[in-house]
Symmetry: C5
Subunit: 262 residues, 5 copies
């Protein structure tokens, strides 16, 4: 679990509910208006479901877990592996990589090198790996889109809840005390609509987008590495190529021993 | 019919109308202000029609039915077919595919292979199939655009309805009881504008976009498959290529027997 | 004139003005507040003019007429013409097309074939025709942008009108009856701002965009046809290529006789 | 100065200030609330400056003057010049253009032809001219972005001004007459925020974008002309190529004599 | 430190707080409602953190310092260096550049030339440098995205704060004096939400975007320079190429001596 997710969630909850307490609203009050909850939550999920397919909607639990996941692919751990594979391939030929495949953790790297070992043309290796990245990225985008759509639906259903509440309340305008309580209750739906969007759905969609960007970047780096190994690149050039995809801090921590040993 | 569409529609209707009932507004009330309905619904369709052409507008009923349609193209059923065609073509030559064409369900795949059998150049096969995909995708986009435009017009006409209602009501500010009822009635138009946009038009447009993306992805995969068959790709490579377009779950379910038999 | 434009305009006018009548506002009332009209309409055009050049602004009347124009280029009428030209060119050579040029209605197709007859290189034919399409498309986009900008300016000037009205009215808060009438009058500007945007400017801009997309698609098809004729494509392939740009309904109506005669 | 700019500015000023006068607000009133002015204008410029660099901000006066400038590059005046240069180059060789360079007004055309005369490779001529266009276009975009940002900041600072005004006023709710005046004064800030955005900043940014698009289009045409001259294109083809970038009206006015003399 | 940043920050602070003082609100008042602060600030950071990864969030202090940094890369200082390196390379061969590398301040230029000296293929030099630029640009974009997201979250949490305040206040509608103070306090949260977004977060994100664009443009120029040196371009052409990336004012100040000495 990514610690920043916990920090983020706590900051949101403390900010909003302790803030409300300081203002004089017991946080419990937000949960005692079931109609507000009903008008905001159900139609938000309903509209998102109506705009997608059954197999997309089934991904929802998996997408939820990703909200708290660590980003991967920014570490330079893969650099020595790639450089080692490149050295082996230059020394003993591409077929010698076969014996190394089982020790590779990353299935994408393994798949690419398997194709290289099988003797596939570089254009076909690139095409297969690229279309796998594109298909993955488009699945990710669809997930983020569904969650983003919840973040745009929920405040509008919050407005609907408020409008419904105001319609009820304004029908009895002659009782000012009841009027105030009615408008207050109407605003509970607005609260939930805006809160769910900005405290949950939109950050969740942003996290999905970020994780996807990191995974796509990592896989693009692996494609270049696989093609570089297949072309028999000098291991130092191969290291430069892989490190050029990494942030300077990570790249340099792996670069120095490599460069000095050259 | 895609079951999630029904779930989505029910969640929206239950959430909004049962929620309103709990608040104390009979759902019937929303239907008893014909002016609100008139000001929101007619101009929303009118503005969408004014911004399009007759032949686009005629698509409306067909587009409506698509709101409930299943997405297609994510299943791996086509993999064994493609691999089989590739094997046949390598064994017996491209012309041998002619006899297989009638058994193919997919007209796009059939059309592409017919061109291959007819001996068309690969560049021309790709150009014809690609421009068919582009034309289809641009027709789909136009449909989604028209529905999206309804989703942006309807809340604004809801505002117009509310403004008109407020103009009437504020003219008789001295009668507070009537004032409340007037404002409440004015808000009915706002309700319809926001509800139609977020409960119908925007999810509908999202569904159209999703179905289009799935169909485009499927057709792009078929283009690569047709070109791969024409180039005489190794059937295993052909399988890898097609599976690289599929989500991992579907791809693996079709991959194992293939890989193990290799 | 495109019939859907008339339908659209009527739906907007009936919806808004009959709806207002049902609410109890005489549509005449909207026209009796000249200040509202002045604050919304003049600055909307003014801001659009300030953001463009004299020669763009002179296009306004021509753009207005296009709001009601039919879309073109989706019919398959051009398919037999193209196939016929292709057959003639293969049979009698490219120069034989010279005699056909005068009978071609479409000036773009004529211009392209004239260049072919004149013996220009295919790359130059493509470059000249493509840059003509790009220049046309960018002129169209500029027109749609100007009208879209009116659709974004007009509601904001409607807000300015309301704010000015409220400033006047709130200065005399002690007279509640006058207050109501003042706020009602202030909302007339809001009405005009939102109505002009959503009832006229935005649909108008959408129509301009749609007509442009259809014309660009048609011209792109003609470029491919001209280049195909120049390359001496088989007429059947030429027909496939042209039809791949058309919607299935139109394409098939022209395809059958062609395919069966092949 | 572009006459439409004057027309636009006058329409905005007349519409808003005469409209306000008709409503009963003396335009002078808008200028008598210095706090409103202070809260809107200073932070709008401040936020734009904070988001940019010193050298960008120094461009502000130059950008202001461009709001009233004529668009250039849509006239066909350059066609005969290009065709003449092309004829000269074909007749007397590329070096003969050297003597013509001093008479060329356009520094971009002169620079391109100087490189041609100097014997630079076509790829390098294209690369240098293209990267000059890209750099210019990105400078223009930055200018338009800074002004657009003012157009988005100013209404939000208008809201801040209104909120501050309301906070003051609502603190003394027991005095209804003062309340009205307070809210009215609070709305002056809203007025300025929305007015400056839609009456000045956003049209200004649109004008900058339009001028940039015209200049980029003109320079792209000149790049194609320079490369065409260097490749020794037939002058008629050169004329076709240049005219394909122009609107039909301008293109035809220069086309006829050319075509008839061919 | 970029002086315009200080000017911008001062204009914002003076405008808003002196403006508020003139209106009659002591700026101190904004800081005396801890609940408003809590509801806006904590959840804004929380939502941004929830939508990102730990390593992104750790960049926050570094990103903050960049708000006040000068833009780099627009000066023409690098032109003579590049031209000198190009002359040296043509005269003494590419290996002679090795001795110059230590004197180069720019690590990116040094890295590129090191690869050239090491004898790497031009395609690989370009690929390594380009993917370094792309990786840097995507890291920058992620930083700007996180800050932009704060700028969109903060006004919405400001609305949540206002809604919570209104819920409290409207519960006791019978006490008009308390009502006013309650609504005023509720608006403090709105003030902070809108102020933090437009006075800090959005300008900050714009500055990050601007600095990134300048650095990317500078690095792209260096890539072209390195490749030009490797290809043995004429130093004058090299100068033209580098200057084509600079604004005219800077380019000309470095161009004249160069051109005149040619």
């Amino acid at each position: 679990m990514d610690p920043i997710s916990l920090v983020g969630a706590l900051l949101i909850l403390i900010g909003v509910f302790v803030g409300a307490l300081l203002k004089g609203v017991s946080p419990v009050a937000f949960f005692t208006v079931p109609a507000a909850f009903l008008i905001v939550v159900l139609p938000t999920f309903g509209a998102a479901f109506l705009g997608t397919t059954t197999s997309d909607a089934k991904n929802l639990p998996r997408l939820f877990k990703m909200m708290f996941r660590k980003g991967e692919g920014e570490d330079g751990d893969v650099v020595p592996t790639i450089v080692g594979l490149g050295e082996r391939a230059r020394r003993d030929g591409l077929l010698s990589l076969e014996s190394e495949l089982d020790q590779l953790e990353d299935p994408f790297l393994r798949k690419g090198l398997q194709m290289v070992v099988d003797g596939a043309d570089p254009e076909i290796v690139e095409e297969v790996l690229d279309s796998e990245i594109r298909a993955m990225s488009s699945r990710h985008r669809q997930g983020a889109k569904m969650i983003t759509s919840m973040g745009t639906y929920s405040p509008t259903f919050g407005i609907i809840g408020a409008v419904v509440g105001l319609i009820v309340t304004l029908g009895k305008l002659d009782n000012p005390s009841e009027l105030g309580h009615g408008i207050a209750a109407a605003f509970i739906a607005t609260f939930w609509g805006v809160f769910l969007a900005n405290g949950i759905f939109l950050p969740w969609a942003a996290k999905l987008g970020r994780l996807s960007a990191l995974e796509v970047a990592r896989k693009r780096m692996l494609v270049e590495a696989v093609l570089g190994i297949q072309s028999g690149f000098n291991p130092r050039v191969l290291g430069d190529l892989v490190r050029s995809h990494l942030p300077p801090s990570r790249a340099s921590s792996t670069a120095e021993p490599e460069r000095s040993s050259a």
